[in-house]
Amino acid sequence: MRLERIDGSSYRIPKQGRMRVDGIIFSDVRLLESLRDDPCLDQVAAVASLPGIVRASLAMPDIHWGYGFPIGGVAAFDPDEGVVSPGGVGYDINCGVRLLTTKLTRADVEGRIPHLVNMLFSAVPSGVGAEHRDFVLSRSEMLAVCEKGAAWAVSKGYGEASDLDYIEDHGTIPGADFDVVSDRAYERGKNQLGTLGSGNHFVEIGYVEEVYDADAARQLGIPEGTIVVGIHTGSRGFGYQVCSDSLEGLVKVARKYAIDLPDRQLVCAPVKSPEGWRYLAAMGAAANFAFANRQMITHFVREGFGAAFEKSWHELGIRLVYDVAHNIAKMETHEVDGRSRKLCVHRKGATRSLPAGHPLVPPAYRALGQPVLIPGDMGRYSYVALGAKNAMQKSFGSCAHGAGRLLSRKAALKATQGRRIEEELAHKGISIRAAGRATVREEFPEAYKDVADVIRVVQTAGLATPVARIAPMGVIKG
């Protein structure tokens, strides 16, 4: 795959063969080295062949091999000429991250992290097949969850109305329709709301280790030394089934639209077609399930901290900093060649990144920009950044979503043979509880790229501006 260097933080795959536009990779020499044997660049080129794609097929610095679209892929399509593709969102619809802040400092939690970790591990169902035995959504409740998202959870007492101001799209994707969701999706998801799941999903207690913009950090509520909690999860089996059903349905009608696909996982339909709208409605339902999921887990975290410190969570100041989706497709307005256009923007393993002044940024942050949450791995650090103006011009207001895997799960198990990762983390002062036997080894820190490398490119490319670095102290994994 021929790459042309554009500048120190971006490369071009020139339009060739079936490609309708260029591919643009936000990366640098160091990160590109890790992609040498990764087929993700071929995937960027494949996405560039889809009809109605606008400007370029984009790849964020944490790009790695997915299926169809790469993970870390962003693509925007004209709603009249272009397509919507479930593979451009992923199976875990609205997998995303939220960050909570507190009034606690490191001194307050000294010696208490193992207890807090155990408490959260009990409070938040996690692990493979995690579900509630005693909390099963009826069909009418599931309908409400799918239509209202986080607002449903708040109406049931999981959090406060003010939380919704700090969630992307206020925690509710409009146009969601439970009627287009299959019975199978309902069956898979009915007792999974309020659960973490497995793999790289986590609840993580950390502290603000370093601040790069003291004023912004203060306004976000994350000055140096603050104890924060990150939550990473999505739509669970409900979303996976919605994606599966959508893919199988679109494969059946692929011939109808005569779209030439280099990979069947790129199966798609015109945005304005009945099948396209049906997918967006089903995706919206699953996205709202995920927003409700993270809202419920937030409640469990608040209650758990409250019990541990014998205070209300209000007294502990546990408030939501922000919640972002990183697997989603949305109709957004962007400027292209000097003209304002409505586009169907797909982000698969990529985060929205809006600059200061953007009307969709919460009023409390409008002068700053949208918080961009970029978790790393469980042994090193994560970052909080703010959306920057260049993101609107270069990446349809998008940014990286994490560190990106370096090693497959199999390779991670091989690399950690004979090692006791929990002990290694404990020596660094990090407590971990994981539901799965192999999870800690599969998710060990070096299985991921160094997120500091990702942040460096994000900053150089002007996609977001780092505000603070967070160090892990306690981790719950599935």
Binding site: Y67, I71, E187, Q241, S408, K410, A438, G478
Partner: protein, 151 residues
Amino acid sequence: MAAGTTDRGAFRTTPHTADVAIRLSAARPEGLFAALLAAMRQLYVGRRRLRPASSRTVRLEGPTMEDLLVSFGNEIIFLVDAHKLVPVCLDAVAVSTDREAGLKLDAELALAPVDSRVGVDAELKAVTYHRLEVRRTRNGAGLRTSLVIDI
């Protein structure tokens, strides 16, 4: 129910950064499904022995073998996720042509309940279409394919 086959096929996992890639091979089409079931069983429960406690008839249709493999794999995922039933083996399986649908799969799955104390080892999200193409082996005597499972 159509007659079964003793072709169990074979599988092995291959490197994939974020998910699981599996290579399947078999002498006959039915063997690919047996191999896929065996691969998924290993992902779910490793080498643990399972005792079948129930069976389920699965009937699927699709225009191609690839579609049937994806549907079959996703059927297994649904059984595990929603019904807590892990596939043990295929008691019977037959692939036949269908004038309208293209291809038909009739299968009898032997199932075991998920051990509530131990659970399963992996959460499989879905079998994907990524790079999925069933081909003849080089000597023409059998079939092979690779597929990616999102976990």
